[in-house]
């Protein structure tokens, strides 16, 4: 049976583009073969993972650098009985997702920073109405129109709410095309489990970069439900046949009822905080300095750590995979077991200091927290990280 799982077959297309040979790869069919390695961009990995997770509704509005996702969905959805809509706006796209989710489907939208700002209205409604939904933000430089270069400047917006009201998105930060695939599948499960919006926080570099990924043969076993319209969604609006009418709404007319809804939501968030923190830790047991970085920034940091290891500078890495809930437990555990030996945290971001605030809260004064960041399209380089770590190392 291990050889009989469905994995995509890949067709490699070559086309001449103004003299230069350009290759593109597309998933054309699903054959019964073993684990297969495919070359795919981060954006397309997200789109294919969504399809394999049972997402059968996608609505979105074009914006660079995430256009591969709607283009992929436009091609892929019709063949599998799914729905693709190019919406008139981001406001409409997120509301379409809200409707599809309310009707019981696994639904997703994607955008990049300025478009995600527009989606905040709908995200708040989705959170308030307790609907599952997956929202992808392939971050670009801001503020305002900014530019299409990669950034991590939407961390606050993603993890602190973004829209109005006391709510939280679950936020997942992939650092490779493989993880973009894995976390997107996971996102649909989390969204259904908690009836909560889940955001995939990627960036322009991760989205555009092509990498080999493996679609594991036992992937289906990881899913709670592969069907796009799961019968378990008893709350969905489907027509009130043989049951009392269902209502999907965030509005509460009576005084006190909105407070009760908020208390209920806070209870849910507390459970998510307790159960869903995830991070990757590297070289923590020996480290005197710990880098905290997520997404593509963590991969750049790994290069720096490797170089410094050769120079006998002991640097570890914490790579948050869930940005909300932030993996604060991992940081407090490290400080509990290695208090005094871990002297510095260096937070590296493609922003001017957003996640660093959560690191400071978790560290709570028990070690020094320094920050290295660039934004507006600037990406901290391996050399810059090494340089800063050497300066810190000299202070140890």
């Amino acid at each position: 049976m291990r050889n009989q799982k469905l994995v995509p077959k890949v067709e490699i297309l070559h086309r001449e583009t103004s003299g230069s040979r350009r290759s593109s790869y597309k998933v054309t069919a699903f054959g019964k073969t073993r684990n297969q390695k495919i070359l795919i961009s981060g954006n397309e990995a997200i789109a294919e993972a969504a399809v394999q997770a049972g997402c059968r509704f996608y609505a979105g509005y074009p914006i660079t650098p995430q256009n591969e996702i709607p283009a992929y969905m436009a091609k892929r959805m019709p063949g599998i009985g799914g729905v693709f809509i190019q919406s008139e706006s981001e406001l409409a796209a997120i509301s379409m997702v809200m409707g599809a989710s309310a009707a019981g489907a696994r639904a997703m939208t994607s955008s990049s920073s300025p478009g995600i700002s527009l989606k905040q209205e709908g995200i708040s409604y989705i959170a308030g109405a307790e609907l599952p939904a997956v929202i992808v933000n392939v971050m670009r430089a801001g503020p305002g129109l900014g530019n299409i270069w990669p950034a991590q400047s939407d961390y606050f917006q993603a993890v602190k709410g973004g829209g109005h009201g006391d709510y939280h998105n679950i936020v997942l930060a992939p650092s490779s095309a493989q993880e973009a695939f894995d976390l997107t599948m996971f996102a649909f499960d989390l969204a259904d489990k908690y009836r909560n919006p889940v955001m995939i926080l990627s960036d322009g570099m991760s989205g555009q970069m092509m990498e080999p990924i493996v679609i594991p043969e036992d992937r289906k076993n990881l899913l709670s439900g592969i069907c796009c319209l799961t019968s378990e969604k008893k709350w969905a609006v489907t027509g009130c046949k043989d049951r009392l009418p269902n209502l999907v709404a965030s509005f509460r007319m009576c005084l006190g009822d909105t407070e009760k809804l908020n208390q209920h939501l806070q209870g849910k968030y507390k459970q998510i905080l307790a159960d869903e923190q995830r991070c990757e830790s590297v070289g923590i047991d020996e480290a005197e300095i710990i880098i905290v970085a997520y997404g593509i920034m963590a991969r750049i940091a790994k290069g720096a750590i490797k170089t410094l290891k050769a120079k006998n500078i002991k640097v570890g890495l914490i790579r948050p995979i869930t940005l909300w809930p932030f993996p604060e437990t991992q940081i407090t555990q490290i400080l509990k077991h290695r208090l005094g030996r871990v002297k510095y945290f260096l937070v590296v971001e493609m922003s001017y200091g957003q996640m660093v605030e959560d690191v400071r809260l978790a560290v709570n004064g028990k070690a020094k927290v320094e920050f290295l960041g660039r934004a507006g399209g600037g990406v901290p380089t391996e050399e810059e990280i090494i340089k800063r770590l050497e300066v810190i190392s000299d202070k140890l």
Binding site: E88, M96, M98, A102, Y125, V237, T238, L247, V248
Partner: protein, 242 residues
């Protein structure tokens, strides 16, 4: 004795929260009667607006979903596309459908979504306290046009039904009124037609219902209804537009 008239099954027996003379109650009831007559209560999904009718779902005894202000037709699009067998309608006021949701309205209509929209036009914002609506008449006084709506600064009453009728995706548009029993019956016929169109897969149907808001017209209910009949219909003539 045979019972020949009663509460529709799809309308709950609860006290109304609407003001005296408000047209929402009539429109809610007409929809319920049509749902019963077409026997679609187990298939229907309503999308409620933001505005006075935000809790329309408290009255309707069938599945309903909330939408953000103006986004009802986007939410309805999502529902209908994943559940084509369901009968999906939006119930929206003039602010919701014509102002903040103008883009969603035009694009859902232009895509020819197989949906039904019941549009309540009372020429004023009710829930927020009587501000100017896109359909407020020229010279009509509201909280935000205290000297009367002046076209120079506030533009003209927006005739969305006529505008939508131009779109190829739109199958049916009719403007009706609730200002007299005869007109109410005509309104019901139009609503029924709009639902039948969806059942038959004809595409986008919209029924605009001229409705009185005595509270924010500053009139007694009878005077407000008369105002709808005599003043509103001059700007918004009744009848089938498409």
């Amino acid at each position: 004795m045979d019972k020949i008239f009663g509460r529709p099954k799809s309308l709950r027996d609860i006290p109304t929260h609407y003001c005296s003379g408000c047209g929402h109650g009539i429109a809610h009831r007409l929809i319920s009667e049509v749902v019963d007559e077409l026997d679609i209560r187990e298939r229907i999904i309503g999308v409620a607006p933001i505005g006075c009718a935000v809790i329309a779902y408290d009255y309707w005894d069938f599945d309903c979903c909330e939408a953000a202000h103006g986004r009802a037709l986007a939410v309805a699009t999502g529902i209908k596309r994943v559940r084509p067998e369901a009968i999906v309608f939006t119930y929206q006021g003039d602010g919701d459908l014509v102002a903040i949701g103008c883009a969603e309205t035009i694009h859902a209509a232009n895509r020819g979504e197989n949906l039904t929209t019941v549009f309540i036009n009372n020429a004023v914002y009710g829930m927020t306290g009587g501000q100017m609506a896109p359909t407020t008449l020229l010279n009509q006084k509201t909280a935000t046009t205290p000297f009367g709506r002046d076209a120079k600064s506030a533009g003209y009453p927006l005739k969305i039904s006529e505008l939508l009728a131009q779109l190829s995706g739109v199958y049916y548009v009719e403007r009706v009124s609730t200002d007299s029993p005869v007109k109410v019956l005509a309104a019901k016929r139009a609503i029924k037609q709009a639902f039948i169109n969806q059942i038959e897969g004809k595409g986008f149907s919209l029924v605009e219902i001229l409705s009185a808001c005595p509270t924010y017209l500053g009139m007694k209910p009878t005077a407000a209804v008369k105002w709808v009949r005599e003043e509103m219909t001059k700007e918004f003539p009744l009848g089938k537009i498409k």
